[in-house]
């Protein structure tokens, strides 16, 4: 990533002339691997405005296009987390929160949940918690909530625990324990062996 001291002109030159969001998206969609790499590695320069177009490409059928777009999103997320950039961060995580849906590409939604775990706050908790009802996404949703500080995420985890099916309660209980909450009546199986082998001793 460019250092904070780097001049915008130097940054533009360094990243192969990606000067606009349109350049960014065109290069990621295109066939030129060098241009695509230059594009996703400069994505942080475009902030929240690039989130939606990159999210669309992150679900592209071409794996390298999807990968480049996802990595571009990660760069935006990490860049906006810097101290003093709260407005930018708010814009990014608001855009990301809008992408949460159980109907979206599952692996991409997982990525978005983990992005939000890094920069989200109480304003995105409700949307994340809603995914705890989705059997495929609930694990990532709870882990994201575990990481987001504050009472909103903690209360959301408590509510999820109450509503969770028995098989998933230990997962939620563990997230709450990691947040310092004592949970009785739901034993942890962290050290309980459960996977046997077919390999025989000599």
């Amino acid at each position: 990533m460019p250092t904070q001291a780097e001049e915008p002109s130097a940054r533009t030159a360094r990243f192969g002339g990606i000067e606009s969001r349109r350049d960014l998206i065109r290069a990621i969609k295109g066939d030129d691997e060098e241009a695509r790499a230059a594009a996703w590695q400069s994505a942080e320069n475009f902030g929240a405005s690039a989130v939606k177009p990159l999210a669309d490409l992150a679900r592209d059928k071409q794996p390298e296009v999807a990968r480049a777009a996802t990595r571009g999103l990660w760069r935006i997320v990490r860049h906006c987390s810097r101290p003093g950039a709260d407005d930018e961060r708010y814009a990014v995580y608001t855009a990301l929160t809008g992408l949460l849906s159980g109907k979206n590409h599952t692996q991409f939604t997982r990525d978005v949940l983990w992005m939000l775990s890094e920069i989200g706050d109480e304003l995105c908790v409700k949307r994340i918690a809603a995914l705890a009802a989705n059997e495929i996404l609930r694990e990532d949703a709870c882990l994201a909530l575990e990481r987001i500080p504050g009472d909103a995420s903690l209360n959301a985890l408590r509510e999820i625990l109450d509503a969770a099916p028995d098989a998933f309660k230990p997962n939620v209980a563990e997230s709450l324990r990691r947040r310092g909450v004592e949970i009785a009546g739901i034993p942890s199986a962290k050290k309980t062996p459960s996977k046997s082998t077919a390999v025989k001793p000599m």
Partner: protein, 446 residues
């Protein structure tokens, strides 16, 4: 010569077979069943968790201690059934195979474990082993996050077990010579240590996600990591090139080369005050750890700078005579810059080679000596037997892992981190602090 390692002295290796009653009177870490039978032909009972490249190395290497009557091998464990089958054949009769390491935790007859799983498993398995009273040899790097390191240090201390981390460069003969040379100020006051290492590979031929092979328990392999579909570029071995699981060269060889630096600079227990990284990730493919990378660590009181340079400016290996050990891995090492000269070493892991002028240096009368490891495993056994601090104890190893992990974190965030080593926090950067740990999937969590 006087020894500069306070409290270490010159511990000599003694066989577990000949533990004396007097020795048993010491506040030792030997398992209770051994203490109950003083003078008996006690052997340390060991299990192996993770049987890839390093796991197999340790399994083979441990046989010399089996042959000498000091160790019994009780169990082998891997999430890959083919690897497990191979390990059973190598380990021989009487060794129980497990897919799930938690069976080993349940076995009261097992005293110690050797953990050689991918990095993302180290902390969870080490903490669980400590909590069940087992001594631990865990491969380097100790951990993947700052919080994992904290948990590992706490687990070792709270459960009073001996831990050795596999940065075995510290135990190499030429590492002793280098340490002694630098400790005696031959190159003066050192203000800069410049590490060099060749670049990481990129994934130039990416493949699509697929079903895992039948022999691999993918869920168990992932363990604490967030779930994702299997891709054959994740494993085996290549986990190293993923930030989440392997952290790249800086967390692989950095945990060796910077381990030497921290040891020889007597900097264990200290931490940098700032970390600043730049680098370049692969242009495509699954792997995302840095191909090229530069990290600058600034230490205060005493003031010195450590830099990780990938590739940096590699120093050509010195010519050695046929009677001298060849430098077989010259692509990484470090240059130490003092106010009276420089010193170079190559390698830093199982092969650690010191510059000729250091090897030929004859300590004058009154020179300081430094601790000379009897061997990395022997030093671990000493730790188990006598409570002596191992040369790469978990506190020291977490300090080195912190360097690797903070370097990667600074790179990922694209900013300089100001570090409070005492409180293990980034100063003035709440969202960087959020990334000092990461949620672990249940039940693969500590």
């Amino acid at each position: 010569m006087s020894t500069s390692h306070a409290g270490r002295g010159t511990v000599t290796r003694r066989s577990f077979l000949t533990i004396s009653t007097a020795a048993l009177g010491l506040p030792m870490l030997i398992p209770s069943r051994a203490l109950a039978a003083p003078g008996a032909n006690y052997r340390l009972t060991v299990a192996f968790i993770g049987l890839g490249g390093m796991g197999n190395f340790h399994l083979n290497d441990m046989k010399r201690f089996v042959d000498s009557g000091e160790v019994d091998i009780a169990a082998v464990c891997d999430a890959d059934e083919k690897r497990l089958q191979d390990a059973v054949q190598k380990a021989g009769p009487g060794v129980t195979p497990y897919r799930d390491y938690r069976y080993i935790l349940d076995r009261k007859d097992i005293d110690a474990v050797v953990i050689s799983t991918p990095d993302h498993w180290h902390a969870v398995q080490m903490v669980h082993a400590c909590q069940t009273g087992k001594h631990v040899y865990v491969e380097k790097p100790a951990c993947c996050t700052i919080d994992e390191g904290t948990a590992m240090m706490n687990a070792a201390r709270d459960n009073k077990v001996a831990v050795q981390v596999g940065s075995q460069g510290r135990s190499q003969p030429e590492a002793y010579l280098a340490h002694r040379y630098l400790e005696n100020g031959v190159i003066g006051r050192i203000d800069t240590v410049t590490c060099f290492h060749y670049a990481s590979p990129g994934d130039d031929q990416p493949v699509p996600d697929s079903e895992p092979p039948a022999e691999l328990d993918w869920d168990l392999w992932l363990g604490p990591l967030r779930w994702r579909p299997y891709n054959k570029k994740y494993c085996h071995g290549t986990f190293r090139w993923l930030m989440e699981s392997g952290g790249g060269q800086i967390r692989d060889r950095g945990a060796h080369v910077m381990s030497c630096a921290m040891h020889w600079m007597n900097a264990d227990g200290t931490a940098p005050v700032s970390i600043e990284a730049t680098g370049t990730q692969p242009k495509k493919g699954l792997w995302d750890s840095c191909v090229d990378m530069t990290v600058t660590y600034s230490f205060k009181n005493p003031d010195w700078t450590l830099t990780w340079n990938q590739p940096g400016n590699p120093v050509p290996k010195e010519e050695r005579t046929p009677q001298e050990e060849e430098i077989s891995r010259p692509g990484y090492g470090a240059v130490y810059h003092g106010d009276k000269g420089t010193f170079v070493h190559w390698g830093g892991d199982g092969g650690t080679w010191a510059e000729r002028k250091c090897r030929e240096w004859v300590p004058p009368a009154g020179a300081k000596d430094v601790f000379k490891s009897p061997g990395h495993k022997e030093d671990w056994f000493n730790g188990i037997r006598t409570s002596s601090k191992t040369i790469m104890n978990i506190d020291a190893a977490v300090g080195v892992s912190d360097l690797c992990n903070l370097g990667n974190l600074s790179f990922l965030l694209g900013r300089k981190l100001m570090w409070d080593g005492k409180n293990r926090k980034v100063i003035g950067d709440d969202l960087a602090n959020r990334l000092l740990g990461r949620p672990q999937r249940y039940p693969y969590c500590f």
